[in-house]
């Protein structure tokens, strides 16, 4: 798979990764050092720092500060993944064993905390108070969202809850990346607001597509069974659309009352959701977010970076990552 929107930031991303590696002290215990190195390097597509670098460069921002921002955002993201895997009891992520699978919960908790601490320290190194505030607020939103998800009634078919959840889980950090990059690069409030909105739209689209892939994805690539969200009591957009279209389906009606704990019932429901037009409806909603993101970019002067942001937005609904 060749994606070209990474091209303009390829060297910037390498700098972000090098910066992240410097956060691992040489005098740490070899096991810990190995785990941190692994976490830092096995890091997916670096979509969050890519967003920041593209936005910042489009607006002529300071490259060094944008690299620091990218490192802080990606380390914050990595920290939340480490704690998430512990919370979910996940043993694999992207096909490789999680820290949680190989270590004690205690070591996993502390490694996540360490990444939080270093992410905050990096954010502080940008020497820009509004960035620190945004960083702290975003961390509070992400953790608050996870807590709500844990304490909220499982199996809830509520659309509003869903949007709040995916904002906290994904869109908040996308939004932080683009807004912080804009704040570093321009004083113009309308430009900042526009790029914040671009991050929001792409983040919402990204998570909706992620949730669709839980129903339609290649099991091997996704690394978990189809419908695993629903099996965990997590109702995502495809299930919400299906429920709205089939309010009398007994399996749908059972979900809020704990039906998600019944494997057979969930398997049946997942099959019906996949065969329904709920998947297309959810995808159309993701597509609408992408369209709004593209509209936001339109007034900006054409540039390599604007083109890349355009392409990145389109890629979100067309990806398998």
């Amino acid at each position: 798979m060749t994606t070209t929107f990474f091209t303009p930031v390829q060297s910037g991303i390498k700098e972000v990764e090098a910066l992240m590696r410097t956060q691992v002290d040489a005098n740490q215990h070899p096991d810990l050092k190995a785990a941190l190195d692994h976490l830092m390097s096995a890091g997916g597509k670096r979509i969050r720092p890519t967003l920041g670098l593209l936005v910042g460069h489009m607006l002529g921002g300071n490259h060094e500060k944008l690299v620091i921002l990218g490192g802080a955002v990606e380390m914050l993201h990595t920290a939340t993944l480490v704690h998430d895997d512990l919370i979910d009891g996940a043993l694999l992520r992207r096909g490789t064993p999680t820290l949680n699978a190989r270590w004690s919960p205690a070591a996993t908790v502390l490694t996540g905390d360490f990444l939080f601490a270093r992410a905050a320290k990096l954010a502080a190194e940008a020497d820009y108070l509004p960035l620190m505030k945004l960083f702290a607020e975003t961390l509070a939103i992400i953790v608050g969202g996870e807590l709500t998800q844990m304490f909220a009634a499982h199996g809830s078919l509520n659309r509003e809850n869903y949007y709040q959840r995916i904002f906290a889980k994904t869109a908040s950090l996308f939004e932080m990346s683009t807004l912080a990059a804009a704040m570093i690069s321009t004083e113009d409030e309308s430009i900042r607001a526009a790029l914040k909105a671009y991050g929001h739209e792409t983040g919402m689209a990204f998570q909706i597509v992620d949730d669709i892939l839980d129903y339609t994805g290649d099991q091997g690539a996704v690394g978990k069974p189809l419908g695993s969200d629903l099996l965990n009591g997590l109702v995502t957009l495809p299930a919400i659309y299906y429920a709205e279209g089939h309010p009398d389906d007994p399996d749908v009606r059972a979900i809020p009352e704990g039906g998600w704990t019944d494997n057979e019932r969930v398997a049946r429901l997942v099959g019906r959701i996949r065969a329904s037009d709920a998947i297309q409806q959810a995808m159309a909603e993701a597509q609408a977010h992408v369209e709004r993101a593209l509209q936001i970019l339109e007034p900006f002067h054409p540039s390599t970076e604007r083109d890349a942001l355009d392409e990145l937005a389109r890629y979100i609904v067309d990806r398998s990552f």
Copy 2:
């Protein structure tokens, strides 16, 4: 027990506690809200915010910012306790059940993360970048210390390791409280350095006394069995002094090779340490830290706050909290 050094900051501490409570949103799940309220209110002596308020008021600093600092420091402290209890598997702290005893590890991890996030958000609200940097650095030191402790060889009789550990565990946050309060209150670098050193000395003394109480304390008040540190492979100052004085004691020689896992051996050793002069030697070392703290205060103009800081330092070696 009446302690008077709290008197000058009594109303300030109430403000700190009120500020901490505002960090718990009303729309949180009742169980979570109850747990957070409990964590925020069952908070010991508030020694860290007391340090900041006394130092800041002595130097004529802005009260509102000092209250924010106090809230951030105390929430950071609370967050580390929540994760510590999870890591240690502790079921009681100060005689009350920990979150860990009543909740799933997942909920405990997230509640700690939530407190971290809110502490960072509070720190950012002081609108002062150096404070945020200090906050991030201190968090990194604390977590780094816990990681080192987890990965380091247990039963190590190394004095340097011990000092590094108690700095990371306790003195770093004491030092942050006094330094940050000084930074908020004065531009004078020598005054800042002096109060940073005061925080360092009192913090080191505090943890040394804490470690002594693990050998000598009233079991009921401490809430854990005597010698529990050594039983966990944690060699503290009394054991280090004893080992230095009795290098040929076979129980001492066995400790680095895993002897701390042998309950009978540890019980015997704890008894011998208690009966030796190691306890007095460790206490004299704590006392020396206190003396240095008092010397640091000497050049400052007499004031209620200076007297209280004096008293606080003396109280550390004379306490049972």
